[in-house]
Symmetry: C3
Subunit: 142 residues, 3 copies
């Protein structure tokens, strides 16, 4: 199986890796929703002066899953190998139902689905209103 190019991944904001394997597990760095091609966060609309006008939260959730998919692909993995996810929201009331809807769509065909832990935090990097941290099962242990 051919692995995807690292060009599909967002540029890390510091000296860290997008994925690291140890034994049976592949750890994936926290993924926001920045588009790897445009370097702009998913779902954000700007006015002519460059100020943020609206943020489409559902588009951000989809952006996060797109980035997780891209990191997994580089490792030769898919969402079927994810075993644990931490979800970081910035508002439980507004975002929890929308995140659950997109989550259920994304993992619909995955059985058993991963374990999950959801918390709402004070702030996330950049214009991310959501971020996820995933752990996957490796194809071959190292």
């Amino acid at each position: 199986m051919a692995t995807e190019s690292k060009e599909n991944l967002t540029k890390p904001l510091a000296h860290y890796s997008h994925a690291r394997q140890a034994g049976h597990l592949v750890f994936i760095a926290g993924q926001g929703c920045r588009d790897p091609e445009t370097d702009v966060w998913a779902g954000v609309t700007f006015d002519k002066s460059g100020n943020v006008t609206t943020i489409d939260f559902e588009a951000q959730v989809r952006g996060v899953f797109r980035n997780i998919d891209a990191v997994l692909a580089v490792e030769g993995l898919t969402k079927h190998q994810i075993i644990d996810i931490q979800v970081f929201l910035t508002s439980m009331t507004d975002q929890f139902p929308i995140m659950n809807k997109v989550w259920n769509e994304f993992f619909k065909d995955v059985s058993p689905p991963p374990t999950r832990t959801t918390i709402a935090v004070k702030e996330l990097p950049g214009l991310n209103l959501i971020e996820m941290k995933a752990i996957a099962v490796a194809k071959d242990k190292k």
Copy 2:
């Protein structure tokens, strides 16, 4: 050793698993304090109109440990196999000493105890003032 029924577990709020094993580890989904039988959060008192009047934080901590115990039991494990816990509070000042008291009681006979990381977050799902994410050592590696 007979494993416990999954009927002792809270109903997940979306398509995720309560526990997943990979290699030597069992990942457990973030556990709040909802009572699996009544589906009501531990320690919460409501008035006649259904509004929350008081929340007993200590009862919530005990509810979280009860739910972790129940998930471990389904896997044929006990608290003696837990190796790492993340504790999510919603107020450090008010809750940290109470959480530590119940923690020390719960893990009194466990040696060595798990590693631990405690943070206070903005919000947790539902009426949870506390939630914990645990990782345990599997009996047999897969």
Copy 3:
């Protein structure tokens, strides 16, 4: 390789371990910046009445890495074995650039560097403005 003394570690605030191994991994408890010798948080200045006057955030980041180094040393490990870190800040805007600067210095010679997830939370224990949770690769699997 001689391992370091546990006297270089901060006293845990409850019955938990600083490090636990399972299979290929070593889990490390969340590390703040308290100095193991003085039991005082790094970078904090007090006035004559014992009130906090200033907190040097950069000194706190260095204090966290010093404490992670100390826990790793007891296990016979170094920063080169770290594979995953969760960074907990208390203000993204003020602290993210400074954390990144010290992070890049600390991991400069580490290749590949660990995966990373950064969130800003509501509160951390004591006078910590930053805390980190690390997972390392064990030398010999158990």
